[in-house]
């Protein structure tokens, strides 16, 4: 019979690290009351692990002279963290970009080469920068060296922003000037200017207790959503929203295991991870609806949701039931179309979609009386009341009047594949019009067409595709609008050369936006593909239709 004292004596063969210096450096976690602290800490660590386990430390990440990664700039609009397939803190995680279909995966960081790990990537609002965390790979090393960094979207020009303790979870302000983050494993919510100056604590007003995790700035810049604990239920975590100065902190979810809040681009909805799936919270009413179902006993754990720029789809991470893998999934905002984007032996998590510049204008304003699509086309007019927009994924640059409110939703690729369509639709917002916005074209858009609206779709044969029709007009479609503006196809026939000097690149894909002034609005969908451009006549028609759209004043 084995002697247990002797067998357990084998432990003496293990050589411990020197943790005294770590203890001296540390600021101990909050300790009031003890019971809550213990649990709060556990939650913080567990959530960090759930997210890929990437809390961490570091000295300066000095690769400021790295070469741009060309693959990172072409349509690879999703950021994610990948690490070795181990359960527990991943020790070699890096930040990657990939395309929306899960292809073209490209590594942006080389943290491992620096003896570090990279995690928590966050797109800047204009999509030109990425904030992230660099840290040493071991928990015991996570002291003052864990910091927030910012790099270009192609991985170049890495700059350190914070020098605190356990600084994690960067979240950009909508104007791109500030970054919210958590400090000391969620003990504090902090804000820093992007240049590293003006580090300050957000002093939360209300019954809300650490660990604070996953700050998310509201699109209007006024509030911050985050995950925290309730004093009365210290073993729980819920989603909270507070003013950016910490005032009026309010609990938003009733559950006791809710977290990972993510604002929809228009600020109306917060996606969050509940104990059995991703849920969508209507901020105004407080009502919830289920997006995914993932019961821990049968499925695993869904977490870290992130919206597509146009709010029609969400990315999220799913840990399998055995806890041996985490992969990124994609689902439509109505819960349909769930499918996995990543696979393989590596963990993939913390996925986020590159924002569209379109969503950065938020204030509703009356629609202009000028021709809407005319404004869309005059992208070279950047001065005055025009605002430049650029959608990197689609290689499409447009402008719109700066007093317009813009939101948008992506076209559903299934409308007419592959992008051999052009569609324009105007429609009055119906009550609760956001539901329309969130819907996938074409069905809802078609349903909402008014008698004065225009809908034109073209397929390969130049005929309408999909079978939808304009309400009140039978099966027919309206004639081609008469008021087409001037536009020519460039020499060679593969690009459009408007007379105003615009240059539209070939290979443009579907692009779709949505305008509103609070109680009315209109869709614009432009679908242009290589085959469209290959046919000068149809390319001409496509652009002509764009130029023809008019928006009436209220």
């Amino acid at each position: 019979m084995p002697d247990l004292r002797e067998r357990l004596g084998e432990l003496d063969r293990l050589e411990p690290p020197d943790l005294w210096s770590d203890a001296l450096r540390r600021r101990p976690r909050p300790t009031v009351p003890r019971r809550r602290v213990r649990r709060a800490f556990a939650i913080a660590v567990a959530l960090a692990v759930a997210a890929g386990g990437f809390v961490i430390v570091a000295q300066a990440f000095s690769s400021t002279s790295r070469s741009p990664n060309p693959a990172a700039s072409d349509g690879a609009s999703i950021l994610l963290v990948r690490g070795r397939a181990v359960v527990g803190p991943s020790r070699d995680s890096e930040i990657y970009r990939m395309a929306q279909d899960g292809s073209a995966v490209t590594k942006l960081t080389d943290a491992v080469g620096e003896g570090m790990i990279a995690t928590s990537p966050a797109w800047s609002p204009d999509g030109s920068k990425i904030a992230f965390v660099l840290a040493p790979p071991g928990i015991a090393d996570r002291s003052s060296d864990t910091g927030i960094y910012v790099m270009n979207a192609d991985g170049t020009d890495v700059t350190r922003v914070t020098y605190g303790r356990y600084d994690e979870r960067p979240a950009w302000s909508p104007d791109g000037s500030k970054i919210a983050f958590t400090r000391d494993q969620g003990s504090w919510l902090m804000v820093v200017d992007v240049d590293g100056s003006h580090v300050r604590r957000i002093r939360l007003d209300g019954d809300v207790f650490p660990p604070y995790q996953w700050p998310a700035w509201s699109p209007d810049g006024e509030r911050i959503a985050f995950q925290a604990s309730d004093a009365a239920h210290a073993n729980t975590n819920a989603v909270y929203v507070a003013d950016v100065d910490g005032g009026d902190a309010a609990r938003m979810t009733p559950g006791d295991a809710d977290g990972y809040p993510a604002w929809s681009p228009d600020g109306s909805t917060i996606a969050f991870a509940g104990p059995d799936g991703i849920r969508l919270l209507d901020v105004a009413s407080g009502s919830q609806r289920r997006l995914t179902r993932c019961d821990p006993r049968r499925c695993g754990f869904d977490f870290a949701p992130g919206w597509s720029p146009y709010a029609s789809r969400l990315l999220f991470s799913r840990q399998n039931r055995a806890g041996s893998s985490i992969q990124v999934f994609l689902v439509n905002a109505d819960g349909s179309g769930l499918h996995r984007l990543t696979s393989g032996d590596l963990w993939s998590t913390e996925a986020s979609w590159r924002p569209s510049a379109l969503q950065t204008t938020r204030t509703p304003a009356p629609l202009g009386t000028s021709p809407a699509l005319d404004a869309l086309g005059r992208w070279s007019e950047t001065a005055g009341n025009r605002t430049m927009l650029h959608d990197e994924d689609d290689g499409f640059t447009v402008a719109y009047p700066s007093d317009w409110s813009v939101s948008n939703t992506p076209i559903n690729d299934r409308v007419c594949s592959p992008y051999e369509i052009l569609a324009l639709a105007t429609y009055p917002l119906r009550p609760g019009g956001d539901a329309v916005m969130d819907a996938q074209l074409p069905s809802h858009a078609v349903d909402d067409l008014g008698p004065d609206d225009i809908l034109i779709w073209l397929n390969d044969g130049g005929n309408a595709c999909g079978g939808e029709r304009r309400p009140g007009t039978g099966a027919g479609f309206p004639d081609r609008p008469a008021a087409f503006g001037p536009l020519t196809v460039c020499e060679g026939g593969d690009t459009l050369c408007p007379s105003d000097g615009r240059e539209i690149a070939p290979g443009v894909r579907g692009w779709w936006m949505w305008f509103r002034d609070g109680n009315r609005g209109f869709y614009v969908f432009v679908g242009m593909g290589e085959r469209v451009f290959a046919d000068p006549a149809r390319a001409q028609l496509a652009w002509d239709v764009l130029d023809s759209l008019r928006v009436d004043p209220r």
Binding site: L11, P16, P17, L19, W20, A42, L47, A50
Partner: protein, 154 residues
Amino acid sequence: MTDEIELELVYREEGSRLWRAVLAYSGDRELADDAVAETFAQALARGEGIRDVRLWIWRTAFRIASGELKDRRRRFAGNVSDALYELSDDRTELANALSHLSPNQRAALILHYYADRPTKQIAAILGMSAATVRVHLSHGRKRLRSILEEQSDA
């Protein structure tokens, strides 16, 4: 009565054994690193507020580790506890055997047979009654021996 010098002395005398015990309990090296470092950081912050610092550090370290393990189990809702259990880079028979015990059984056995703590102190460290500790010791002992015997027979 705890200043930094005294606390460092406690660390030098107890730190290694405490770390190994927490590691054996949690099965996770990083968790053990963090629990022990955090324990001493908290002791430093409390200064003279601790009466029996040696008992206090054991209790605090095990509480931190226990809380973390519990929450991982809750969050992951799978076999995370077992999956995380990697006592050393090269898994030993002992690590494998310990991983088959309940956390309380594991803690009680480690504190008793490795840290040489009497039942009463184990009860104080784990926040349970001495009678409960004895039950965990009894059941854990029986199970661990059985597993180790199976391993040696195999």
